[in-house]
């Protein structure tokens, strides 16, 4: 059952990632927002795989805390991805709602941070042998 849920969130993350790439040249804000949602789905996949039973929450900050705690419980030392994740989350509202201008350059940085987070998440999922991570 866990493997099915992990697959679900990974598929969703991949979908967002492809959308991010598809839109990046023409629709910077949409692309950036999809990147952030991709990271959220990867975080959900990792948390479910590490034993979390509830990931549907708008409080993504607590998701980062929960992920960090679960990784620490497994004595997983590379926590850089959690900080990438926090950084991405901190930009979500600004990209989506706030009136102050987010420059195109900021959106490009979000895309780069998303890619780095995805690399970290993929390697983390594999190293921790999360059920359903590899196909």
């Amino acid at each position: 059952m866990i493997a099915v849920q992990v697959h679900h969130y990974l598929d969703r993350a991949k979908d967002f990632f492809e959308g991010m790439k598809f839109l990046k040249d023409d629709l910077a804000y949409s692309s950036a927002l999809l990147g952030i949602h991709c990271a959220i789905s990867y975080c959900d996949a990792l948390r479910i795989g590490l034993g979390s039973t509830k990931v549907s929450s708008d409080d993504h900050g607590s998701a980062a805390d929960d992920l960090k705690k679960r990784l620490s419980d497994r004595r997983f030392e590379n926590l850089r991805g959690v900080e990438h994740f926090r950084s991405l989350l901190s930009k979500k509202s600004r990209v989506a709602y706030q009136p102050d201008a987010v420059r195109k350059h900021d959106c490009e940085l979000i895309l780069k941070d998303t890619e780095r987070f995805v690399v970290w998440a993929e390697e983390t999922g594999k190293r921790l042998k999360i059920e359903g991570w590899l196909r």
């Binding site: 995805v118 993929e122 390697e123 196909r135």
Partner: protein, 174 residues
């Protein structure tokens, strides 16, 4: 074309295929001219930062116009041979890339023997065919959509070893 020009065209085509795979996959690690389990692979991409499916691309070099002077027959035969060889390659996705030899000629299409030969014997998997024309944007066109071959412990172990022992030509670093 002189030898240097041919090599340059092949190199540019490898770059174009790499770009295509980067767009298609999720942060893949891409290797050029890979020795994959003893077989030369022109472009090798391992999806999901090196932990996912393996995509292997074998290129068929330009042969001039496809239709004239019997070249269409030559290309078709070479593509067919490449498809047959790839069927035993350990990777989840396998592609043959046909390089255009003439900017005015976009007429290559996989023939019936290629279409039939492209399937795995048990039906799980199909070798894809890409067409590369460096004068077009984007330069890579899918002529035959690949289908995933069975995965195996052998493929996973090969990929793990390859990623550990080789530096990727393109990757996103954490």
């Amino acid at each position: 074309m002189i030898e240097t020009q041919v090599q340059q065209e092949l190199g540019r085509a490898k770059n174009a295929i790499q770009e295509y795979l980067i767009r298609k996959l999720v942060v893949p690690k891409v290797f050029l001219d890979a020795d994959w389990n003893g077989t030369q692979v022109d472009v090798l991409a391992i999806d999901r930062a090196g932990v996912g499916d393996v995509h292997a691309v074998r290129m068929v070099p330009p042969q001039g116009r496809f239709i004239e002077d019997g070249a269409v027959v030559l290309i078709a035969r070479q593509v067919l041979e490449a498809v047959k060889e790839l069927k035993s390659l350990p990777s989840q996705y396998r592609h043959v890339a046909v390089l255009s030899g003439d900017p005015d000629n976009h007429r290559f299409c996989p023939s019936d023997p290629i279409l039939q030969e492209s399937f795995a014997e048990d039906g799980v998997g199909r070798v894809g065919v890409l067409y590369v024309d460096l004068t077009l944007e984007p330069p890579v066109e899918v002529k035959l959509k690949p289908e995933r071959f069975r995965s195996s412990k052998e493929i996973v172990e090969l990929a793990d070893r390859y990623v550990a022992e080789h530096t990727a030509n393109w990757e996103v670093r954490e």
